[in-house]
């Protein structure tokens, strides 16, 4: 694709929210670029299969149809798409730096919509770094996008709605689920299902998924967590513990998929140093935004689950609201049109939020999960930092996450703390007997993703180097 140097609007993230905002801006005549590190639109929720997969006509998956619609709409509206491009730097103003397999590229824009979604929270336990232990979200991506069952025998663990959806897809595709280990109780599920009534489509879908799991006689361990995982020949051995009666059950399986809900991706908003607030119901730290998803920085809008976890359907509404706010801020639509377009969306979004809050309660991290982490367990996978290292740092005087980082090197590895920041904060807050929000969050740093220096430099001849005169002595 021949990109322009400057766009009226740049959207980072081609999931439901990013696509909706891009379409809304484009329909009013703005030139829009949408960037995504995946090879296609759809985000993680409707992630497209690899390019080489050709759809068979007789059978289709609903997610795939939604994704195809996204691609078609982007094309129809002449929106430039930079797929397979990973953003590694965003500077105020705005300058967006990205890389792909050929090298680096920079774009400029006055209006930036960040729709970078979420990461999965995975609370550590002994042996969680063992190969064969993967995220529940990773498991979903394997199933839905890559059309692959991760193993012949799978145990699913954690909490939240993903547990049920992953189990359903494994069974639907003919795989075997050895067990579901749920941190929540059955009672908590029933309570949350009541709030699902506000969203009938999801309610019916949820019930049919649960029915399939029950009919397949998958053993469900409620109120339970994974105590320990160790490598065994041809698989892994898992120790399951009941939180209430402390009973232990041992299982041998091939793959463990585990996840404890989602947390908003704040990489870019932290880098741009806008204000954030802490909200457990929304997944942790979220950027401070007005009701139209404007941030405190002029021209910066943050949408989708990255603005607080509420799901794929409300994510589209958030994207649309931000786009209308942008159009009004740029005087492309007037006050009357803005109110007309947005009041209906706000009403719908508020209704969805009731449902989202019900689901969010299933995503809460119970204290038992944090307290059950043994001192030798690695929290920061990149730098091999254990819970003991974190506790030592705290006891030696580290008072916030950035200080703990300097003390221990946690969060200094290639993942920049994305995998462990949440659990390190929880562990430190338990030790300091303080609120997680009092520990702050890691300062945003570039590069947002590691990439080889040769890509940044590119190819050049010796003659092309600008020679600088040596400083006089």
């Amino acid at each position: 694709m021949n990109f322009k140097k400057e766009y009226d609007v740049i959207v980072i993230g081609a999931g439901p929210s990013g696509v909706k905002s891009a379409l809304t801006c484009s329909k009013k005549g703005l030139k829009v670029l949408i960037i995504d590190s995946n090879g296609n639109s759809g985000g993680q929720i409707y992630r497209a299969p690899p390019k080489s997969y050709i759809k068979k006509s007789e059978k289709t998956l609903e997610e795939n149809l939604i994704q195809l619609k996204f691609s078609e709409n982007l094309k129809k509206n002449n929106i430039d798409t930079a797929y397979n491009h990973t953003v590694w730097q965003v500077s105020p103003g705005f300058k967006i730096d990205a890389f792909n397999e050929n090298g680096t590229i920079q774009w400029n824009t006055k209006n930036l919509i960040v729709a970078t979604g979420t990461y999965e929270k995975i609370i550590p336990f002994d042996g969680w770094t063992t190969p064969g232990v993967i995220g529940l979200a990773a498991c979903t991506i394997l199933l839905k996008a890559h059309q692959t069952i991760p193993g012949n025998k799978i145990v699913l663990a954690g909490n939240g709605p993903l547990l049920i959806s992953v189990a359903y897809y494994i069974l639907k595709f003919g795989g075997k689920v050895d067990a579901i280990v749920d941190t929540s109780s059955k009672f908590e599920w029933i309570k949350s299902m009541i709030s699902l009534i506000f969203n009938p489509k999801n309610f019916i879908q949820g019930i049919s998924w649960i029915l399939k799991i029950i009919l397949s006689r998958v053993p469900i361990y409620s109120n339970s967590l994974i105590n320990k995982v160790s490598k065994k020949e041809n698989g892994i051995s898992i120790e399951i513990q009941n939180i209430k009666n402390k009973q232990i059950k041992k299982l041998t399986t091939e793959v463990l998929a585990v996840g404890h809900g989602l947390t908003p991706s704040t990489d870019i908003s932290r880098l741009l140093k806008i204000n954030h607030s802490y909200d457990d119901l929304k997944g942790g730290w979220i950027p401070k935004l007005d009701q139209y998803f404007r941030s405190s920085m002029k021209g910066l809008y943050i949408v989708g689950d990255g603005a607080g976890i509420s799901g794929a359907i409300p994510a589209e509404d958030k994207g649309e609201l931000a786009a209308y706010a942008l159009l009004k801020d740029q005087n492309i639509i007037n006050e009357k049109e803005f109110t007309n377009k947005t009041s209906r969306i706000i009403k719908r979004l508020n209704r969805y939020e009731i449902f989202a809050k019900g689901i969010a309660k299933l995503n809460f991290t119970p204290k038992d999960l944090i307290n059950n982490i043994s001192e030798n367990t690695i929290l920061c996978r990149c730098e091999d930092i254990t819970k003991r290292d974190i506790i030592n740092a705290v006891n030696n005087g580290a008072k916030n996450l950035n200080q703990i980082k300097s003390w221990t090197r946690f969060g200094m590895g290639p993942c920049q703390g994305r995998t462990c920041q949440y659990s390190v904060a929880k562990v430190a807050s338990e030790e300091l007997k303080c609120n997680v929000k009092d520990l702050g969050y890691l300062t945003g740093r570039t590069p947002l993703r590691p990439f080889p220096l040769d890509k940044a430099i590119g190819d050049f001849e010796y003659d092309e180097i600008t020679k600088v005169e040596a400083a006089p002595l």
Binding site: S52, Y53, T129
Partner: protein, 96 residues
């Protein structure tokens, strides 16, 4: 059990890749980390301090655990797609 689901999509043609001198069959265009995972090549790299085995974990380019050497360069295998004759090395990547 065939872990690849063929009901909804046709995959690319069958090709061979070389993983640490061992030949593995895969379909062209499949995701490298997924192929390694289901071919029982789960150990991809070692951790810096403890030299523990690590493998595919998040599948969305965030955790960086699935790094391997592809034709001599470090890449996250979750966003690499299979081409015929690819040479992949796993293990302690800094000493290979």
């Amino acid at each position: 059990m065939n872990l690849r689901i063929h009901d909804y999509f046709e995959r690319g043609k069958k090709v061979k890749i070389i993983v640490n001198d061992e030949t593995i069959e895969a379909y062209e265009g499949e995701c490298l980390s997924v192929v390694l995972f289901i071919s029982n090549k789960k150990n991809l790299r070692t951790s810096p301090k403890l030299k523990e085995n690590r493998g595919m974990f998040c599948m969305m380019g965030s955790c960086q655990e699935c790094v391997v050497l592809l034709d001599g360069k470090k890449v996250t295998s979750c966003n690499i797609f299979i081409k015929d004759g690819m040479k992949v090395k796993t293990g302690n990547l800094n000493e290979l």
